[in-house]
Subunit: 349 residues, 2 copies
């Protein structure tokens, strides 16, 4: 239990306050060993206001990459940034994972470059875990590869499979391919070829699924290209925001509405929490050496803590190693992937 | 004001009751002349229960296409269906438009085949009007073309422009191209080429937009390929359903929640209405000769009436003709499209 996690203290809408507070929560509640990366003076200032923890250390980084900066430019020009330093620590094995609520593109590109991909993965993919009516679903890719080939969709499926078994504890997760109709012949060329390739794979492939299947809980893993996945994610966020706005609008437009809302405020608080995507724990960059969790820009301290928890579990459950093994087996024509979280966890001890 | 509209009496989850009730509402409240297409005996039985209207006539059609039947198979094998008959009436000029809450694919394929495209439109597109925080947005294509070329995106933009000006009354509507980042260089090849083509067009092109811009009201028309648009639409529907389910779940799980919900029930009723996509008036198949509105399968009588209203306005505002003229102008290198709803309406008198 000595794996360290680098937390980008400068990333996010509420940096450095929330990342630091989240790191302290994780250090205290999870016993996590954290390396806070960022401007040392500012970090120390904030740490002074909190009860200190022996599990926290600081690595200084001069520069800060803005939330809206171009990832490519940031990669080239800001080599002294907290994101670069965190990625370097991952590469050097100083930490087992990186957690950042900063510029998603910059974190993704930089971490991919420094840490490198695991064997068998041509293209690391960004995954998110979304709440469904029944539990959770893993959606990937949500933005790392806008133009993948069918074999990459199979790799996404394998990565999603192990995130689902090892982190969410799902046994033999169902894997679906996102399309606009359930028939195998429907969809783009990528969908048709991806469908055939996934069918041949040892995954528990249930065929094509539609967007409504994501939230109904009909499937455990949903695979798609990064363009489509990004659209699904951002559309979901936009509809959630719009629905919350309209609900508030209706409830505040009459006396009875206001009164009812005040009476039921506990229910509304729980509701907001259940649908707040900032609390879902962030996106996971799968297929790189080590773990990288990218939290939502507006993450609370609690959301950062969740991200750290996921990064730690990712390492302890040896998710990267399992993906590597499975992809090697796939290359050798194996027709099974280990699918029981209990058995898999047992074999790693 | 003598244009007739064919209403598919057999299409939808609540057929033939809701389509017939919707037709009667439209006949009475809008003075619309309706041709109900479907099984004559069943239609007459239901009409007997209502106050009759001189504006309603019936055209018999033996067969019914199920909501889940394959559109291609239905097109070939069920030539006696209500959808076929309605499309034939449109082709023969007996009606100016078709309204159906039936199998979207079957209505689209059949109507396209019978009515044909207007000049300059290579690929008719399916559009929807979605509610935003500020008003409405036209999104197209949502499923007719999964693999369009950049010139088709421009045609979609022109069609969306005229739906926005003529039906929604928007002056000089802003047209955006759906992508996953606002930079012109980002996205797939289609996005990059589409961006360049739209920039050269006389449309009020504001550049690439993201899913959150759809619902914020930042743009009036959003153009995309039919695969992406369909994913946006179905994701939106799924998130709306999930959010309503979770809200009910939270409110009914405590005494205070239940009490508050009862007190504010008027607000909740209005809220549900605002977010119920069945009430948004359906999808419009743009670019065919005549109008074709495809309502949501679970449409109420009121939603069917809205669909009929849109089909009528589409004809009266000469939307098809305006699209044809604009596309001809585009071919001749014209750099302006008529953009004022008032001026345009005036010139048609």
């Amino acid at each position: 239990m000595s794996m360290k996690i680098a937390v980008d203290a400068m990333g996010g809408d509420h940096a450095p306050e929330h990342p630091i507070a989240g790191a302290l929560l994780a250090a205290r509640e999870l016993g996590a060993k954290i390396v806070l990366v960022g401007q040392k003076d500012r970090i120390e200032d904030i740490l002074e206001d909190h009860q200190s923890s022996p599990n926290i250390e600081i690595v200084h980084a001069d520069e800060v990459i803005g939330m809206d900066e171009s990832p490519a430019t940031a990669l080239r020009r800001k080599r002294g940034s907290s994101i670069h330093k965190a990625a370097q620590l991952l590469r050097e094995g100083e930490v087992g994972g990186v957690v950042s609520a900063g510029n998603t593109g910059a974190v993704m590109v930089t971490t991919k470059l420094y840490a490198g991909s695991i064997e068998g993965v041509d293209r690391p993919a960004l995954s998110v875990v979304l709440p469904t009516l029944l539990g959770h679903v893993v959606l990937l890719d949500v933005g790392a590869n806008i133009d993948p080939k069918s074999q990459h969709l199979v790799q996404f499926g394998v990565m999603g499979h192990f995130l689902s078994t090892q982190i969410l504890g799902v046994e033999n997760p169902k894997v679906g391919l996102l399309s606009i109709g359930e028939e195998a012949g429907k969809g783009t060329d990528l969908i048709r070829e991806g469908h055939a390739a996934l069918k041949r794979s040892p995954l528990n492939f249930i065929g094509n699924v539609e967007s409504n299947d994501i939230y109904s809980g009909a499937t455990d893993v949903v695979v798609c290209d990064g363009f489509t996945g990004n659209v699904v994610l951002k559309t979901s966020e936009a509809v959630v925001e719009t629905m919350l706005y309209l609900l508030r609008d209706e409830l505040t437009s009459s006396r009875r509405g206001k009164l009812g809302a005040r009476l039921a405020r506990e229910s509304f608080r729980n509701y907001r929490k259940r649908v707040d995507y900032a609390e879902w724990g962030g996106a996971n960059l799968l297929g790189i050496k080590g773990s990288c969790v990218i939290c939502h820009g507006r993450s609370s301290a609690k959301a950062i803590k969740s991200g750290i928890r996921v990064a730690l579990e990712y390492g302890h459950q040896r998710v990267s190693e399992r993906i590597e093994e499975a992809l090697r087996g796939l290359g050798n024509g194996e027709t099974e992937v280990s699918s029981s979280p209990a058995a898999a966890a047992g074999s790693s001890d």
